[in-house]
């Protein structure tokens, strides 16, 4: 019951943010839509089964965001230089390595962070092995036991 009320509240807040109108009719429609959506998704059985949506260390998460942003900027500039370089200095590599994360959420965060960083794309993702395509051999070689790996592991340790 608490979960249902929480979901309705979040959906209604989303409605208000998107609409920006505060007339009684539109607010009532918002509440109605939120309730109907939650009712439908319960009937269809597509409400998240995990029950604990975010089990990440909040303290590690706060430093992870800005760190990932800096990594994206650095890698993005590196790929930009390679694209604009007259001789196109790329050395595409496929790298396999074992991630240190234990939980599904940790693995997803790690794989998504790899793909989000320009120059590396996670192609196959599993608990035992990641297959990553990198645009440069250096980028591919630095993935195994990287700082990203360590930081994402720290994210999930608190759970």
């Amino acid at each position: 019951m608490f979960y249902v009320a929480g979901t309705v509240a979040v959906l209604f807040a989303f409605w208000v943010l998107l609409s920006g109108f505060f007339t009684p009719f539109l607010l009532t429609s918002g509440v109605g839509s939120a309730i109907v959506v939650v009712w439908f998704s319960r009937r269809m059985g597509i409400v998240a089964h995990e029950g604990h949506p975010l089990r990440l260390s909040m303290r590690a998460l706060i430093t992870y965001g800005p760190w990932l942003l800096m990594e994206i900027l650095k890698a993005g500039w590196d790929v930009t230089r390679r694209i604009l370089h007259p001789r196109l200095p790329i050395s595409p590599t496929m790298t396999r390595f074992k991630p240190s994360q234990r939980t599904d959420l940790g693995l997803i965060v790690h794989a998504n962070s790899i793909t989000l960083t320009p120059g590396t794309i996670s192609v196959e993702v599993g608990p035992d092995e990641f297959l990553v395509h990198a645009i440069s051999a250096e980028g591919g070689a630095s993935l195994d036991g990287s700082e990203m790996d360590r930081r994402v592991r720290a994210l999930e340790l608190a759970s």
């Binding site: 196109l88 790329i90 996670s122 196959e124």
Partner: protein, 109 residues
């Protein structure tokens, strides 16, 4: 103050445009499917990110800013998923990536 914000936001918009063009150039210059995906990645992280930030500065503290933040969040959560799905589908369907190391061991004249 308004001028400073305007200059900053225009700088970010122009930077975003620059990265979009770089992504396009990369898309044309890269030799194979997977390397082209890296070039496209520049557009969706650096290009879209800088443009959204520039628009955020133009919007100020309004509902539009909240919507722009939502768009940014959506982009940064969904674009890696779609990129990963595309790369995996290509590999499963037999697109052979062009690799640099395969040529390295062979003796060159």
């Amino acid at each position: 103050m308004a001028t400073v914000l305007d200059v900053l936001s225009w700088g970010l918009l122009v930077t975003g445009g620059f990265f979009c063009i770089v992504g396009g150039v990369g898309l044309l210059r890269m030799p194979d499917f997977f390397t082209r995906m890296h070039a496209a990645g520049i557009v969706e992280t650096m290009g879209a990110g800088a443009i959204l930030l520039g628009l955020l500065l133009q919007a100020g503290l309004t509902l539009v800013a909240a919507k722009l933040l939502m768009i940014g969040l959506l982009l940064f959560l969904t674009s890696p998923a779609s990129t990963h799905a595309l790369a995996k589908a290509a590999l499963v369907r037999g697109v052979q990536p062009l690799l640099a190391s395969r040529e390295d061991p062979s003796p060159k004249p």
